[in-house]
Each structure stands twice: as structure tokens, then as C-alpha cells.
Symmetry: C2
Subunit: 82 residues, 2 copies
């Protein structure tokens, strides 16, 4: 059975986010005066085959730990969007 | 009044996604045999000052068009998460 998961990976709060800081400045320069902060993260869509949704979720969790996220500087959330 | 928006930017379907293809192969190599496809996108969190949520949404839409997204190859969705 095919399952689709969406993994959102965001930088832990307190860590610097140069991409976000640059975008924030650029938006202010473009005339968006009300911008307080901008921060960037990743969203990864994964389609995988597994017998149950629970088994698929366990696999996606393992994928995040082993490859997709860097737990030292990133938090991730996993959502079943099948 | 402060508003927080989450912008999700994903590659238009049909376009190649080298980062996704590489992650998919790497996951298969790591033993996740059931992986069908992996695709990467960006999620941008924006805090901004605006009088109304409607006005804030209009500004975020303009930010996407002018700077954050490339409409030729990307789709974006805007969500108010205040």
C-alpha cells in the first residue's frame, strides 16, 4: 500500500538563519516595511510502500534520523498526507 | 498587529528534482526498499506587521511574486498560522 508523508524540517530556534536574514533585508529593501522576521526550512514529500500507515510512519521517522535531518541543528515534524 | 504566515514552495510537477532523486537513491541504499519518490521544497515562515490579516496576506502574496518564489518553475501556497 502506498503512503505519502510530508516532512517539515526547520532550524532550531536561536540558531542563526543567514538565508532568512538576507530575505528579510531584501523584502524591506523592496518596500515591505512591516517585515519582522523570515526563516527558511525544508519540506520533503516522500511516497513509500508499506503494509500499514504506522509502519510507514516508523520508516519515515528513521529516514529523518539517518539521512534527511540534522538533529543537532534541526527539528522535524512528520505528517501523513496520503 | 503581528501576523505569521507560512509559505510552502514546491517545484512544479514534471520538472526534474535532482535533490529529491539523490535522496531517494540514498534512502534505497540505506535499506529503505519501499521508497517510490522523494521531492524537496521550501517552507518560509514570515512574521510581519499589518492592520488586518487580509492586508498581511496580500503583502505575503506580493513577496512571493517579487522575491521568494520563481513562478516559472515553482508553485507556492500561503497559509496564515498566526
Amino acid at each position: 500500500m502506498k503512503h505519502t508523508f510530508s516532512v517539515t524540517i526547520e532550524r532550531r530556534s536561536g540558531l542563526s538563519d543567514p538565508e532568512g536574514a538576507t530575505a528579510s533585508r531584501a523584502l524591506t529593501d523592496l518596500g515591505f516595511a512591516g517585515v519582522h522576521s523570515v526563516s527558511f526550512g525544508k519540506v520533503i514529500s516522500i511516497e513509500l510502500e508499506a503494509d500499514t500507515a504506522q509502519e510507514a510512519a516508523t520508516q519515515v521517522e528513521a529516514m529523518c534520523r539517518k539521512l534527511l535531518a540534522n538533529p543537532v541543528i534541526e527539528n522535524y515534524t512528520i505528517e501523513n498526507v496520503s
